[in-house]
């Protein structure tokens, strides 16, 4: 177990380091960087120069930007009032667009919104998708099965912003049941959560249905039938657990997918989450904020994947933890 966690941590650290270094190099080298970008207002130009210590040697600038240790006059070489600093401690510098906010402040304020929305969408997808898939698997080729399969097909085929648009068109504008956009009461989150969760509910339903059908065709089910076990006991006792295995292993990529989807949904429904911040910073070229959001999301996806991998052997005793 420890070796498994250690390896995962190692890869995470490597990825984070790679991202930070990538952003540092591209910022410095690319024409969009602080040293030569003409988009920054002249006032910021002076401030930027001071801020980014253009006079320092390259290595010092890099480690100041990256390192846990703060290398400016208040850090290691100065009066050591603020020893720690740099990207690894969450100090990603100011956001270029919203200059009076630091990146970590913006994140602290916008991240909970995104997580709330994404969690709602993911749990909703599981709550709707899993039972629907199981039901469809239990009555193959019946009307309910065909209906569920077509819905699932639509869910996976239509991108989430098209689903959002159609939902907006029908529920918000035409029937005026739910608010069009904005963030406030719970009613504001219903439409975005549905739009964000729909593709994943569809995928989970298809996986659950295929898993159940495949489980019911297995050999030990015929043994159970030959021993006169009632159908409900066979399904619940033997088929359900192995039907859920593919769904559990899909949760990792699904979580990453939900976070990606939230970028779009937050923009459509004007929800002030970290996703919309990332999109805003991408459009405006605010790379410090972009790096911040990307790092946090990478961290989130990694932990979710690790959790799923830890949880999987509990469901399937045959899988030892060491397998990646």
């Amino acid at each position: 177990m420890r070796r498994f966690l250690l390896r995962r941590l190692l890869w995470l650290a490597l990825t984070v380091w790679a991202l930070i270094t990538l952003s540092f190099c591209l910022m410095r080298a690319g024409p969009g960087g602080p040293s030569s970008s003409e988009r920054l207002a002249p006032a910021l130009e002076a401030d930027g120069a001071a801020l980014y210590h253009l006079d320092w040697p390259l290595w010092r600038r890099y480690f100041h930007y990256l390192g846990p240790l703060n290398l400016d006059e208040r850090g290691l070489f100065g009066d050591r009032s603020r020893l720690l600093g740099g990207a690894l401690c969450g100090d990603l510098g100011p956001s270029l667009r919203q200059r009076d906010f630091r990146v970590d402040q913006i994140l602290a304020q916008s991240l909970p919104v995104s997580i709330e929305l994404s969690l709602l969408a993911l749990l909703g997808a599981i709550a709707v998708g899993l039972p629907a898939g199981i039901l469809a698997g239990l009555v193959p080729r019946s009307r309910a099965d065909v209906l569920l399969r077509t819905l699932a097909m639509l869910g996976t085929v239509l991108p989430n912003f098209v689903i959002a648009a159609l939902l907006l068109l029908v529920l918000a504008l035409w029937l005026r049941v739910l608010p069009v956009a904005g963030y406030g009461s719970a009613r504001h989150l219903v439409l975005p959560a549905i739009a964000l969760g729909a593709p994943f509910a569809a995928c989970i339903a298809r996986l659950a249905r295929a898993g159940l059908l495949e489980a019911l065709a297995r050999d030990h089910i015929r043994t159970a039938i030959a021993f006169g076990l009632p159908p409900w006991r066979i399904v619940v006792g033997h088929a359900l657990q192995s039907a859920c295995l593919p769904v559990v292993s899909y949760l990792g990529p699904a979580a990453a997918g939900v976070l990606t989807g939230s970028l779009v949904i937050e923009r459509i429904f004007a929800i002030p989450g970290a996703g919309s911040q990332l999109v805003g910073s991408a459009l405006a070229g605010d790379y410090t904020l972009a790096l911040g959001v990307t790092l946090v999301y990478t961290l989130l996806v990694y932990t979710l994947n690790t959790l799923v991998d830890l949880f999987y052997p509990l469901l399937d005793p045959r899988i030892a933890l060491e397998e990646p």
Partner: protein
């Protein structure tokens, strides 16, 4: 005392490539504490016969005719609910398939306990003790530890024994042993057969053994039914069958088996030709194309399964052990001096 009587059982499968007569007009009786062998090559319909009794056939199968009386009940007419109460409790199926007849995701104890809870409505703790006893009875050491292990942690032999224990949990009257493939080690197969024999003597269970291996039937069964292309071609006590087979197919089978007592290097005499394609309906005796004795009569009409009375130039066998064979030429085959000639006269 007979436990199970099956009369004129016929099963037809309608596959996309046309109707397939898997089993036609099979009759046999199963006595208590005795083993009946159903011998036939793959596709002869022996598994279909057994599975039809417990209605475990796929949906594409239809039982056309036939009756199966067990403990005063007509199996083929029973409702799904009553039949389910019989499966595993009065009639148990043991499939000798070492691959995965056990649920990989739940422990041995839970799977065994489930059968008890379903049929005898025992509580968990009581069921667990009884399962431990059953595992000990089939020769698994410290059965308590086995209860908490998963199937993938056991060896092929141990998994076979767990399946046998599961079959004998509710002390069934009939045990059907289906040997689909010889994937098992020879020594394992021998151990299982001995174990079944010992448990049969102790519990008085009637055993229906389905096998492709004549040697296995000779070793384990008192009475043998030989099936070919869905029909019973010969029925006789084991000793009589192997001493002097009446049907050319049985004789061919026996002679095509490699034997230890024959001098080494003596060539085998395989049966010429190939098994018939079940989808192609065949007039007359199904073995006719491969049989040297086949005459016009054999190709025209299906030989009935007539009893073979000792009176005719038989082989001096006791009246009680009645023999039946479905062949017009059985008189010629039964001649005492026929040992040398065989079907290729």
């Amino acid at each position: 005392m007979s436990v199970l009587e099956v009369e004129h059982l016929s099963v037809r499968f309608d596959t996309p490539r046309g109707a397939l007569q898997a089993v036609s007009d099979v009759s046999f009786t199963l006595e208590e504490e005795r083993t009946l062998g159903l011998v036939g090559e793959s596709g002869a319909g022996k598994s279909v016969t057994a599975l039809a009794l417990l209605r475990l056939l796929p949906t594409s199968a239809r039982v056309e005719t036939g009756s199966a009386r067990f403990e005063g009940l007509e199996l083929l007419a029973l409702g799904e609910r009553e039949l389910r109460r019989l499966r595993g409790r009065r009639i148990a199926l043991l499939r000798q398939d070492p691959l995965c007849a056990l649920d990989p995701l739940s422990t041995i104890g839970r799977q065994l306990g489930e059968v008890l809870v379903t049929h005898l409505a025992l509580r968990r703790r009581q069921a667990r003790q009884r399962c431990a006893r059953a595992l000990a009875e089939v020769g698994l050491p410290d059965s308590e530890r086995h209860l908490d292990r998963y199937p993938h942690e056991l060896s092929g032999a141990e998994r076979q024994r767990v399946l046998l224990a599961m079959a004998l949990l509710c002390d069934p009257r009939v045990l059907v042993v289906d040997e689909p493939s010889s994937a098992l080690d020879v020594t394992l197969q021998a151990q299982m057969l001995d174990l079944i024999e010992r448990l049969q003597e102790r519990h008085g269970t009637a055993v229906l053994l389905l096998t492709r291996d004549l040697g296995l039937a000779a070793r384990a069964c008192q009475r043998v039914l030989v099936m070919y292309a869905g029909r019973v071609v010969e029925e006789a006590p084991a000793e009589a069958l192997f001493a002097g087979p009446l049907h050319p197919y049985t004789r061919g089978l026996i002679e095509s088996l490699p034997r230890f007592d024959a001098p080494p290097g003596q060539p085998l005499r395989p049966i010429p030709g190939v098994a018939p394609d079940p989808l192609v309906p065949l007039a007359g005796c199904a073995f006719a194309p491969r049989c040297a004795l086949a005459g016009a009569h054999c190709r025209a009409e299906v030989p009935p399964l007539e009893p073979w009375r000792r009176g005719e130039a038989g082989l001096g066998l006791s009246i009680a052990s009645e023999r039946r064979a479905a062949c017009f030429e059985k008189a010629r085959i039964a001649l005492p001096s026929s040992a040398g000639k065989g079907p290729r006269a």
